[in-house]
């Protein structure tokens, strides 16, 4: 085991947390609930999305337990349907969409661009309150008896045939949508208008670029989801007949509208995660990200192409053959920028000086799993192949590789990476490396068998399945258990580190970003004086000179 590390902590005997920081500038519950500070709002988000992540995770546990046996024996099929619906709704709308932007992004984007706060601090707080209201609606739908539409709310099932709390859950998602629109709006304005002097577009860290791209998707895509949900609610409540064929409506219209948001939503979820990976890979290989411009523009390309591929969810739904051709072609094109990113990250390692702290391990996990997730996406974008694979466990495995293997790994990489900045303390390194390893193994054991069982034809959303699929399902359930441990570990040691973790100091990773040049945890106003930026992102020479200069002047 290598002991090489770049970690530079202040001497622990004499070190202490800064006397003043955003954490202790004010006290009391009210000072948190009425705060305008982007860092405090980020912490509020962090706590709330962690809460929902574990509820969604518990649902996943129930799903895997039910699928341990071919019969539907743990719960009634209706209950199973409600459980997977809640799993999807909570994980997508209350965890994945806000995960990186609303927590890490909220905390870091103003600091990274050299600003005191986001452009609209009150809207930022409003966005958190909307998120909480959305969460309450969702939990209400769950507690009152659940909802069993699946997270896709397919009409006419959701509008005419189900007798559950569709409207409550739909309103929850509708409100969560506005929360993410506000976050996106705030980011766009902040990045355009509040960059510090000298912080040009091409000096922005790639994390800012990818969040910018995701924000555009949030602002342009989410309103379509809101419209769709309103139509579903109106159709269900008063029967307006937009989607009902017996009233001249078209059920396929719902699919178009829903996927017009929900495909870009995939990029809303993954792009900020890609930003985290760029920061982490650069820091732990001490190198500029290879082809900065290409990586930055590939984020924008993904955002643009992402809007024109939605019908690839509908290849078997009787769309015209020619429109299927166009959408398949565009799907192939959207895969290219992702491939560029993967190779650029790998090339960043070339001639680096690499160390393997926990965030880097998660980043490696991301690269591997996201590559599999991306390549299997090409399977599904290929028209003829999609016919056999769609609506089976292959697609379940595919999007879990992207969303859990990719996004969640990136999220954990980010949380570990910026934990010292957020809290001023280090997490325990050995235990966290173990957690990263457990997560990786558990993840593969859970989701890899699902590719095979999917190719064998096992449909998704089945509470019972033919017995020949059992072996692969048992493997998957066993993996989910391991994965669960992998997620509980950080929860425990992160909480422990709040009190007992080592004092981190301003820049434990020797990273170049503006956020690492200020104290940890930062002051409420972030910077004591407006920073003037005179170097590119990831300029390690600048950092070395600066450190040397500081030693000279202080010494």
């Amino acid at each position: 085991m290598s002991t090489a590390t770049i970690v530079k902590l202040p001497p622990q005997e004499t070190a202490s947390l800064p006397k003043k920081s955003y954490l202790n500038s004010e006290y009391g519950l009210k000072s948190w609930l009425l705060t305008g500070d982007h860092k405090r709002i980020a912490i509020l988000y962090l706590i709330s999305i962690t809460f929902f992540f574990f509820i969604g995770g518990a649902m996943a546990g129930l799903i895997r337990l039910e699928l341990l046996t071919p019969q539907s024996d743990l719960m009634a099929t209706d209950t199973y349907n409600k459980v997977f619906t809640m799993h999807g709704v909570i994980m997508i709308f209350l965890f994945l969409v806000p995960s990186v932007p609303a927590t890490i992004g909220n905390f870091l984007i103003p600091i990274m661009v050299g600003a005191k706060d986001l452009a609209f601090p009150k809207i930022n707080l409003l966005s958190w309150y909307l998120y909480i209201v959305a969460g309450i609606f969702t939990i209400a739908a769950l507690v009152l008896g659940g909802v069993d539409t699946g997270w896709t709310f397919t009409t006419p099932l959701s509008t005419h045939y189900l007798n559950t709390h569709v409207i409550t859950a739909g309103l929850g998602i509708f409100i969560a949508g506005f929360s993410s629109i506000f976050t996106g709006l705030n980011f766009i304005v902040t990045i355009h208008r509040m960059r510090a002097p000298g912080m040009t577009w091409f000096r922005l860290p790639l994390f800012v670029w990818s969040n910018y791209a995701a924000s555009i998707l949030m602002v342009l895509g989410t309103p379509v989801l809101a419209i769709t949900l309103v139509l579903v609610i109106l159709e269900r409540a008063i029967g307006i007949g937009v989607f009902d064929p017996s009233k001249g409506g078209d059920p396929l219209l719902f699919q178009h509208l829903f996927w017009f948001y929900s495909h870009p939503a995939v990029y809303i979820m993954i792009l900020p995660g890609m930003g985290v990976i760029s920061e982490v890979i650069s820091t732990f290989s001490r190198k500029r990200v290879f082809g900065y411009t290409a990586v930055a523009f590939s984020s924008v390309a993904i955002a643009v192409f992402g809007f024109f591929v939605w019908a690839h969810h509908m290849f078997i739904m009787g769309v015209s053959n020619y429109s299927a051709l166009v959408f398949s072609l565009l799907t192939m094109l959207v895969a290219v920028p992702s491939a560029i990113k993967i190779f650029n990250w790998a090339a960043t390692l070339y001639k680096g000086s690499i160390t393997f702290e926990t965030p880097m391990l998660y980043a490696f996990g991301f690269i591997g799993l996201f590559t599999i997730g991306g390549l299997t996406g090409v399977f599904l974008g290929s028209l003829g192949m999609d016919i056999h694979l769609t609506e089976t466990y292959f697609i379940v495995a595919h999007f879990h590789f992207v969303m859990v293997g990719g996004m969640l790994m990136a999220y954990l990489a980010g949380v570990h990476f910026w934990w010292p900045k957020m809290t001023g303390r280090m997490y325990p390194e050995a235990l966290s490396k173990l957690a990263a390893l457990v997560t990786f193994i558990g993840f593969n054991l859970t989701f890899f068998p699902q590719f095979i069982v999917g190719y064998l034809g096992m449909p998704r959303r089945y509470a019972a399945y033919p017995p020949e699929f059992q072996v692969l399902n048992v493997l998957s359930t066993a993996g989910a258990t391991v994965l669960g441990i992998g997620y509980l570990l950080p929860m425990i040691y992160m909480t422990w580190s709040l009190k007992y973790g080592k004092i981190a100091g301003a820049n434990p990773w020797q990273a170049t970003g503006l956020e690492w040049q200020i104290q940890s945890p930062p002051l409420t106003e972030n910077f004591t004086e407006t920073p003037i930026v005179d170097h590119d992102a990831y300029d390690y020479e600048w950092l070395a000179n600066k450190t040397e200069h500081e030693v000279q002047t202080v010494g």
């Binding site: 790998a346 680096g352 690499i354 089976t392 399945y465 033919p466 072996v471 048992v474």
Partner: protein
């Protein structure tokens, strides 16, 4: 051998006897789908290997102990062009290959025999042209192209036969089609793959592919006595369709004989193809499909005829070659008006 836990033992036996990477290749399409799958798996493996090799190799070569000082590199347009163009080329090959396969799977040959499928919560109904009905099962002959014309009575369903590598959404309010040619006799899974409510996972069935002789025997043994078209004929008469669509020169409705497969001129001057979807829609929403030269007097039949009934009518009209029997039936029913409940055409009793 039960010195290990019986549960574990059973699991191992299961593993050894049931482990498979591929479903059976039981249709003419399956080998084509699997070929593309192998190609995709192969390029994925190669791509994955390259990425993993690069990451592992660089991690070993340029770890801090070996390389304490990083060398800063801006990027390389040539390299980046390489890893843009090569994946793009591979994805384009995948696109073209996938598109060819898609057209193969969704464009039926003209000589395919047609079977109707109605999906409803939570069962599959099959209506054979010979009048055989099945629920959650479909008997088909091998080595003969079979086309399914499918519709849902309620929500979205999806008709999936993994062993044939075909699947198609079954949609409320519109016909969708899929075709296949079974090559191996046997019994295969039929799944509904679009989530459709409580018993979604119970909406399964069997596809029984049979040798031609066995299929003939099954067809003969399962007949209900009247073909689908004959059922349609009865419905046609009992709904009174024949009183307008009689084929007589002064009839209030257009003649339907030999209309299927042709083109009709609409009141607004446009031409439409007469296919299953048109016929179904013209029955349900006649005002939307007003034919040139006829008054808009046909009432809607929305909500009055089940999807099975519509299928029978469509099948009847498809096979209607002359109006001789339409007029005969009309005359008979006028003459025998009091005895309307009497059997029509001597083909068994009228279904209620």
């Amino acid at each position: 051998m039960h010195f290990i836990s019986p549960v574990l033992w059973q699991f191992l036996v299961n593993w050894l006897t049931h482990f498979a990477l591929f479903p059976p290749e039981a249709s003419g399409i399956a080998p084509y789908t699997d070929a593309l799958y192998f190609f995709l798996v192969l390029i994925s493996l190669v791509g994955m290997t390259i990425v993993v090799l690069l990451v592992v190799l660089f991690s070993v070569l340029y770890r801090k102990e070996r390389n304490p000082e990083a060398t800063q590199i801006e990027g390389s347009t040539l390299l980046e062009a390489t890893w843009t163009i090569i994946p793009l080329a591979l994805f384009m090959v995948t696109f073209v290959w996938g598109a060819l396969l898609y057209f193969r799977i969704y464009n039926p040959p003209t000589n395919a025999m047609n079977i109707y499928i109605v999906g409803k919560q939570w069962m599959w109904k099959a209506e054979h042209p010979g009048g055989q009905h099945e629920i959650n099962a479909l008997h088909i002959p091998v080595n003969r192209p079979v086309q399914l014309t499918m519709i849902s009575q309620d929500v979205f369903h999806s008709f999936s036969i993994p062993a044939f590598r075909v699947k198609r959404e079954v949609i409320p309010g519109r016909y969708s089609t899929v075709w296949f040619e079974a090559t191996q006799p046997g019994t295969y899974h039929l799944f509904c793959t679009q989530y459709c409510g409580t018993l979604h996972s119970g909406m399964i069935g069997e596809i029984v592919a049979m040798k031609p002789e066995a299929y003939e025997a099954w067809t003969a043994g399962s007949t209900s006595g009247a073909s689908l078209a004959q059922n349609g004929e009865r419905l046609f008469a009992s709904l009174g369709c024949n009183s307008c669509h009689s084929g007589a020169g002064d009839a209030r409705g257009p003649s339907l004989a030999q209309s299927y497969g042709g083109k009709l001129q609409m009141a607004n001057g446009s031409y439409v193809n007469v296919d299953e979807a048109f016929l179904r829609d013209a029955i349900l929403n006649p005002t939307m499909h007003q034919m040139a030269g006829y008054a808009p007097i046909m009432p809607t039949y929305q909500g009055q005829i089940s999807e099975e009934g519509l299928i029978a009518l469509v099948e009847y009209i498809k096979n209607l070659n002359s109006n001789y029997r339409v007029q005969q039936t009309l005359n008979t029913s006028q003459v025998q008006a009091p005895a309307a409940a009497a059997p029509v055409n001597g083909q068994g009793t009228v279904k209620p």
